[in-house]
């Protein structure tokens, strides 16, 4: 007769945790709490408890697989201590060679998106066509409808962007107002530079 192994408890939450582990292993993208609950046919609160159990089991230093909350969902990734070995096995084509222009474009779309190519060009001061095309190809940007006025295509960042940058969601980005200097500071600096210059 098949008997459960002694280490595996028959506690219902434990059983749910095993189901969720299985779902996360077969999924190709992070699964939200609701998606997990629907697939496991259980309620979200219990799924959350089960995720707590799994998170404890799969964490850095304890397992080669780590559970993470990323891109609005839950997913498994490799532990960082295995990064070198993973690097020998895989390339990282998505984020390899992201130029400063690409990062600026991503920042604009992540903070101000959905926005159009002309919006991006206006902020960066150079045409954005090539950069946007390459980011679309890498799957970091996606189309998000058309502009009401001009009919230009609007873009948004994808869940893959959040995953690559390890963000739980876009709200994990630092506030834009806290970055850079504000207009007043900049003006004072411009004036200071002008004053220092010999007549």
């Amino acid at each position: 007769m098949d008997r459960p192994l002694r280490l595996i408890s028959s506690n219902p939450v434990d059983r749910l945790a095993r189901t969720i582990e299985a779902l996360l292993v077969v999924a190709s993208q992070p699964l939200s709490l609701e998606e997990l609950a629907a697939a496991a046919d259980d309620d979200t609160e219990r799924v959350e408890t089960a995720l707590g159990l799994i998170g404890d089991r799969y964490r850095e230093g304890r397992s080669g697989i780590v559970l993470e909350h990323v891109a609005g969902g839950w997913a498994f990734r490799a532990a960082t201590e295995a990064a070198e070995a993973c690097g020998r096995l895989f390339e990282r084509p998505i984020e390899r060679g992201l130029s400063p222009a690409a990062l600026e474009t991503l920042a604009i779309v992540a903070y101000l998106g959905p926005c159009t190519r002309p919006d991006i060009a206006r902020l960066r001061g150079v045409a954005a066509d090539g950069v946007v095309a390459s980011l679309l190809e890498r799957g970091l940007l996606a189309e998000a409808g058309r502009d009401d006025e001009g009919g230009a295509v609007r873009y948004r960042v994808t869940p893959l962007f959040e995953r690559v940058f390890g963000l739980e969601s876009l709200s994990a980005l630092p506030r834009l107002d806290d970055l850079g200097e504000d207009a007043e500071d900049l003006r004072e600096r411009l004036e200071a530079v002008a004053a220092q210059r010999p007549a």
């Binding site: 190709s28 893959l160 390890g166």
Partner: protein, 252 residues
Amino acid sequence: MVVRELELDLDAFEGPFDLLLTLVLKQELEPAEVDVATIVLAFLERLAERDELDLDACGEFLVLVAALLELKARGLFEFDDETLDELDPEEAAEELARRLAEYRRIRAAAAWLSERLEEESGRYFRLGPAPLAPRTARRVAPQDPALFADALRRLAAEPPSVSLAHMALRFPPVAEFLGRFRALLARRRRFDFDTEVQGLSRAEAAVAFLALLELRKSGEIELDQASPFAPIRVARPERPEEEEKEWIARSA
């Protein structure tokens, strides 16, 4: 120092400054693609290599770069031109500072992303090709069996038969008109088609016209119409007898 020969190495262009300007003026290079800041840096580096300040070169460079900047700005701010023109210098300076500040924040955000990417470089995860979408079961609201039975009963009832009377188009045979026109031509040398079909239905007139075409094809009649929609004149050709006479004459 010759400003026009300043060697540039930009994303969009590589070569001397004057060639860049020529390409922009000939509209073979989009000014929006040109990173002006890099050009200025290249010039400043070249300037720093020399001990003395070459004022002529600086002046020339300023004029050229200002022209390039204006072209680029016009290209990038097509829609804002009028509003910018309306601003007084103080407001324009404010606007410039505001835009620069906005861009600085974006650059800072890009720098933050870059650092984040560096920090997260040890994260490896699986990327599958097919996105999975666990479907939530659609729950149907409780239904009344009586309503279902009623719907079935209505479906099972014999539908009323639809009358097709309006679709019946009775066409008289073409032969009827063939005979009629032949008889007419035996009596008269020519007649007016429109007069003959007057008072007939559209379908009958159409069949009469088919008969006319049939007779024309076999060479029994000649048709003549002065202009589109003018009355069609039908005539019996005189040929058979005349031709016969000609043939006789020639063979004689």
